[in-house]
């Protein structure tokens, strides 16, 4: 695999997962949304956008999307998309160490399977 492909995949996964973790942090800080009236939803959205974490999260997700477009200019989609499943691995670690989520055995087995699958996609 060429260096620029490996680098791009790394950025897509780290920026994408980092972005989702930052957005999750914002939304959990706001608390569960019970009232789905347009007025309240607008208030929730405005509150979310006052958080620096939200802007960090959205910027990272945008970066991830543009690098994905770039990578798709030279790699097959049937290679790129399965490999981005590695974000489940990073997501499990990020959820555990940054957000304090408990990861049960079954989820770790899933994470190991994703890694094996990605390895097969790369050498296949």
């Amino acid at each position: 695999m060429i260096l620029r492909t490996v680098l791009s995949i790394g950025i897509i996964i780290f920026a994408g997962t980092g972005g989702e973790l930052a957005v999750t942090r914002t939304m959990k800080g706001i608390g569960e949304v019970h009232n789905f009236s347009p007025r309240n939803l607008l208030r929730v959205i405005l509150r979310a956008f006052r958080s620096g974490w939200m802007w960090l999260g959205l910027s990272l997700m945008a970066l991830s999307f543009f690098v994905l477009l770039m990578l798709l200019s030279w790699e097959n989609v049937s290679f790129v998309v399965p490999v981005t499943a590695l974000s489940y691995v990073l997501g499990a670690f990020g959820g555990k160490f940054l957000l304090g989520e408990r990861i049960e055995a079954r989820r770790w087995i899933g994470v190991v399977l994703v890694c094996v699958g990605v390895l097969l996609v790369c050498v296949g």
Binding site: K28, G29, G31, E32, L68, L69, M70, L72, S73, W74, N76, V77, S78, F79, V80, V81, P82, A85, Y88, A92, L99, G100, E101, R102, I103, E104, R106, R107, I109, G110, V111, V112, L113, V114, C115, V116, G117, V118, L119, L120, V121, C122, V123, G124
Partner: protein, 138 residues
């Protein structure tokens, strides 16, 4: 895995839409970028010109539209179904991407890659079958 929600018709339709539009979106992005050609010149002006061509490309906008439809279906289905129930749909998405890449773009997919995609689906399925919330409400 708990199946607390019966398989209502609208749930099946929306999950099928998620798998289809998500995969179709990625395949269309690849089609658009393939037409633009491999980005290999990292000079800012060359990158800017590639960026400009990307956002004038029909397949790219179709792909973005398809991904937005995926997202709308995802949000709608999450309003009544559990996340851990919906998650397997994102697992089948990996299989759909490989299938559409093969059928629409004629990508050559070696047998090892097909097996890898299936193993990834299985892994994502296992990740999804766990409780969606393990932290206390803060």
């Amino acid at each position: 895995m708990k199946f607390r929600h019966r398989l209502h018709g609208k749930t099946i339709v929306l999950i099928a839409m998620m798998a289809l539009f998500g995969a179709l979106g990625d395949v269309l992005l690849r089609k658009g970028m393939e037409q633009i050609g491999a980005i290999s010149n990292w000079h800012p002006s060359a990158l800017l010109s590639a960026f400009e061509r990307t956002f004038r490309s029909g397949p790219i906008w179709l792909g973005i539209t398809s991904l937005l439809l995926f997202f709308v279906a995802y949000l709608l289905v999450l309003s009544w179904a559990d996340y851990s129930y919906v998650q397997p749909a994102s697992a089948t998405g990996y299989l759909f991407v490989a299938l559409l890449g093969y059928l629409l773009l004629g990508e050559v997919i070696p047998r090892g890659r097909w097996i890898g995609v299936l193993v990834i689906c299985l892994g994502v399925l296992l990740v999804g079958g766990t409780p969606p919330r393990t932290t206390e409400e803060g």
